[in-house]
Structures are given as structure tokens and as C-alpha cells.
Subunit: 158 residues, 2 copies
Amino acid sequence: MGNSDPEKSAADRFLADDSLREAAATGIIGYRLRRAQLNVFQRFLTVFETLQLRPAEYSVLVLIADNPGRKQTEIAAALGIKRANFVTLAHELEARGLIERRPARDDKRANALHMTADGTAFLNHARTLHEAMEQDLVTQLGGPQARDRFVDMLERLS
Amino acid sequence: MGNSDPEKSAADRFLADDSLREAAATGIIGYRLRRAQLNVFQRFLTVFETLQLRPAEYSVLVLIADNPGRKQTEIAAALGIKRANFVTLAHELEARGLIERRPARDDKRANALHMTADGTAFLNHARTLHEAMEQDLVTQLGGPQARDRFVDMLERLS
DNA sequence: TGCATTTAGTTATATAGAATAACATTGTTA
DNA sequence: TAACAATGTTATTCTATATAACTAAATGCA
């Protein structure tokens, strides 16, 4: 039983008709921005597939490693993740043995987040993969200077 | 009965701790790309709130107006929307009287998509709003040249 | 101090976007 | 003509994100 109705990739059809292509993208910054973002995220998913790590999870690990002992709410807020949604995320990372949620010293309600030894090793590996991907992106953008200009413009839109 | 648990905006907490802020964004193109995209889309939603028009719907209308008579699948594919998901989208736009789905001459299976007179008028209004928004973005980016460089870099990532 | 308000974490739930599978109808091609 | 492919469709799933409501604890203030 094979795939009875395989979708062609969007790009296949996209390139099949240039007049449509032009019409779709002309003068729409938001549209191109979204396309680029989806593309970069897709690349991320591919690169991190073997690690079973999604973008949000990676950024959470980076933030905890660089800011050990912070409370859930702080990490969540810094990444623009709602407290409620962060709960599941943190629980999964804890269940995988990558992070620990210790009772905070100064606040009995709060959990202080820390990396485990396994988590640190795992993140180091992930960081290597990420840096390689990032390097690819820089190359595509046209070098470090272009990257800096690009990131600057992204910030201007935020 | 007021909002018993109002969330602070992400930015409020974000700015409350610069060390976290720096850690979150350092060296992560994908992260900043996503932030910028969400921000621009949020602006779109605000601008188009009175029209009750979402980004995908706007791009569909633009594409149909610029390519009248195309089949559903063509429009959907050009925008990277799955056939299946496009059905609801097209039905809603038709229900609002903005587009028509006429039987295609050369293919009894297919629907050829056309704007209605109302749809054209509606889209003209939407285009005005969009152009104003686009102009704001260009200003934020630092002018037309910066916009061109920016869009070029977005294309490089796609 | 005592009481109202706020905050941290949590659970449950809702909504939107995007993806897959399967199907009828029609078109294409070997 | 018989196999295959494409179009539109429905149903379903998955993921991300958002909201409401609750508890326990902390904070503020009169």
C-alpha cells in the first residue's frame, strides 16, 4: 500500500508557473518573511531530527544553560512562551533527564531550572549542530557582514 | 467579572531582565527571524482587523485578482497551501461574496476562480491598507534600498 | 498584624494552521 | 479500453498557541 495521493512539493508547482510566482511575492515583505522563516525552521527540524529536538526546546535549553537557577516563568517569558504551555515543555525536558526543576530557595511556589549533566552534554552536541547550520545560513546570506545587516533589519521589525 | 489572570505582554517581562534578553537572541538567526515574522504578522492582523481578513486570505485574493480564472489547485500551490485546506478558505471567501468558483471550461473537475465586483472593491481597499503597512515597514527597515537588500536576503534563505 | 491582591505553577480546554488519508469524478495515456 | 493521475472534497490528526480557572504562596497596604 503505497502513498496513493502524494502531494507534490510546493516548490515543484511554484516553479511550474512563473507568472503566478511573481504575482504571489511582489511587494509583500510579510509574505517573504514568512516563507524564509518556514524554510529556516524546516531546516532546523531536519538537522535536529536525530536529536528529537524542536526549536522551542533548543532555545529553552540554551536559556537554562546560560541562566541556571531561573524560574520557569522567567525562562518562559524571555522566549515569549505562555506559562501554561511552558509546563508541558519543561516536564518533557525533565522526563528526558535533560533538566531539573528544583524548589526555589526564596519562593516555595517557584521551580528553579537547572541543566543535568546529561542535559549539558546533550546541549553541547546540539549547539555544535546548530552552529554548523548557522554557518550555512551566514554563507547563504553572503557572509558575516551581510548576516549582521540582516539581523539588524530583523530587529528593526521587532 | 474582570480578567482574573491577565497575562503581561511578553515584551514587558522581556525587557525586565536584559541578561536573559541577550542570552535568548545571541547568534540565533532562526530565532530572530521568527520573532520578526510574528511581529509583522501581528501588525497585519491589527491593520486588517476591521476587514476581518487574515494574511492567507489576503494573499489568495491578490493572487486571484492578478490571475483570474486559475484553478483552485494552482492558486493553492502557488501559496504553499494544501488543496485540502484551501477548500475551506475558498468556500469562506465565496460565502462572503468576494470570489466566485465557476466550473472550468476545459476540465469538468476543476473550479476556475474569479473575483466578484464586491470582491474587487474590497480588495482595492485592502490593498490600500496593505500598501500603507508596507510603507511603514520600508521606513523601519531604513528606506527602499534597505528593503531591497532585506528582501534579497530573505530570498537567499528560501 | 490581618486581609486583599498578586504571582508561580498547574490543569483543562479552545482555536488556528497545517498535514495526511481516502474517496468520487474526470482527465490522460499506454 | 484499462491503468493511472489529477481535482475537489471530507474527515481526521497534530502542533502551536491562547484562555480560564484553580492552589498555594508571596506581597502590599490599611
